[in-house]
Amino acid sequence: MIQLSVIVVYLLLLVGLGLSANRLFRGTAKDYMLASHSIGPFLLLMSLFGTTMTAFALVGSTGRAYVMGAGVYGLLGSASGIVHSLCFFLIGVPLWSLGRRHGYTTQIQFFRDRLESKFIGYLLFPILVFLVVGYLMVGVLGGGEVVKTVTAGTFPGVPWLESSGYGVPSWLASGVICIVVLTYVFYGGMRGTAWANTFQTSVFMILGIVTFFIIAKAIGGTDSLFENLAIASKQVPEIQLTRQKIPKPVFFSFLLIPLSVGMFPHIFQHWLTARSANAFKLPIVLHPIFIMIVWVPCVLLGIWASGPNSGIPQGTDENAVLGMLVQTHAGPILGGLLTAGILAAIMSSLDSQFLCVGTMFTEDILLHDRTSEQLNEQQVVRAARYFIIAVVGLTYLLSLVLPRSVFDLGLWSFTGFTGLFPLVFAAIYWRRLTAAGAIGGVLAVLTTWSILFWRSGFGSNPRYSFPESPVNLSIATLPPLHPVVGVFVASVIAIVVISLFSRPPSEKTLAKFFRP
């Protein structure tokens, strides 16, 4: 019960933060969606980092390390450290500049302008929302699972809670998390989201480190920190310390996954909140270090959980590993605080995603082709809120009927965004990109992603690779790779080939987007 109370207090605190941000709300759509471009380097660092660190990074990385061993850090942690900053530098900074110069709020506005095509917006909108829903499911599922595991046994004897181990059922926890995030997003807008992200990022980084040391002490059982760490690592089966469970070609293909950050619509919106281009410098430099601070303890906890002294039974569901470690090794108050830290990471991504789908709906669909006289600012904000509720409701229902591994669900969503990365890269750096090439690229991504997702049993086969078996080419053998490679290559080929065979953009448009 104490754990549950601590979690409830934390959630109320967040709602309070959103209400405080509402007092500074200027009443305009621009302030609601972009915080009036007022975010400085520190808030930008914390909000970008908090947004990219989701249930995937905490619950997913711990669970996957429990299954696959220490290689999970190299697989996505260090790769993200390099590639995310690369995306901030090569994509984020130029897009911020173009966004400020031409008044963009969403990615689709940029693509419509750059490609002189309205249709690209109508094509991209449902695809982006669909991929964001997949990403949202990671947070909704992860949050519910953690609360259920940690509160197990809180209500003994309540018959309808038997299936959830007499704790808070995951469907209820997921629902409450959605409502809390919706509340502070609705009241605080982008400013509230940036504040909540900064607060929550600090909370999960500090409590994450605390969790790590407490569990190390519980497994090690001595007073010496280094001895505890050594004991915890030495009880792990040797194969978990190596990368024998990860095929090398799959490790290589995972380098493409972090490119997805360049096409996340919620990250685009965060980029546009920056006060100046210089505000990007701090996030670019410190992002790899922050990822390291979060991922290293999570992966170590995951591999420790696979050892006999961890108290985690063999064959535990990977989504439940982190919650079980906290429940087994921390006291009730600390356990509650640590759970709040995990929820902080999850909610700091959900909020930005909620806000961005609302912004996309109003700016790219509702307001597109309308004059500003037809809808006032309040009506725009209200419409954004209704659409957010609809998307969150859909995500919530999908999370109930399509339970999947948090890690795999995240990977499929990232695969789609990575497939769209060549589009944004070409739009910024390739003058010859045409609307036909862009549309061809998006359709290539849609087709390859759908086929591969279907072939993987709708994400239920975590080891699905493409090609499905090695292909002998005349010069070499193509090994099975992560599906992201197939989607990415199809996208690049379609964009380049179709662009070269179609009419180039007008000189006026090129002059608007490229320096002479």
Partner: protein, 150 residues
Amino acid sequence: MASLARDDLRRKEKLASYSRQVLILWFFVLFVANLLYATDTASEASYWSSKNGFVKLRPLLALRPSLARQIVHTMKYAIWILVVLLLVFHQDYWQWNEATLDFGFLPRAMTYHVILSVAAAGVWLSATKYCWPKWLDEGAEHSTRENVRT
């Protein structure tokens, strides 16, 4: 006894070798810092203060401004080469089955990638210094358009 003395000698030689390497590296850092200092007269007073010892060395090491500018220009390429190297070194297949625990607790597969993360932060720090598009802030004035329609 003889083997102990041999070990001791080897340790001392190793230490001397490390010291030499550190000294050479320090001189290299001083040299590069002076070159950069010489190219950026605006930061003369603010950035490198004389207490760091750079100013005293400057007249001795500073090259012709054109050559120094060329070196800074080359730095841009060097940094992008470093980014590519980070991605290449990320694929550390040679230690795939390594189960060594560094510092007694950190699997080698993680230690290596932790170092890579720190190196990435260093490379990005250099990138923000030498490859930063300074014209961006000048070109991005507040737009009067609230929304964009095509």
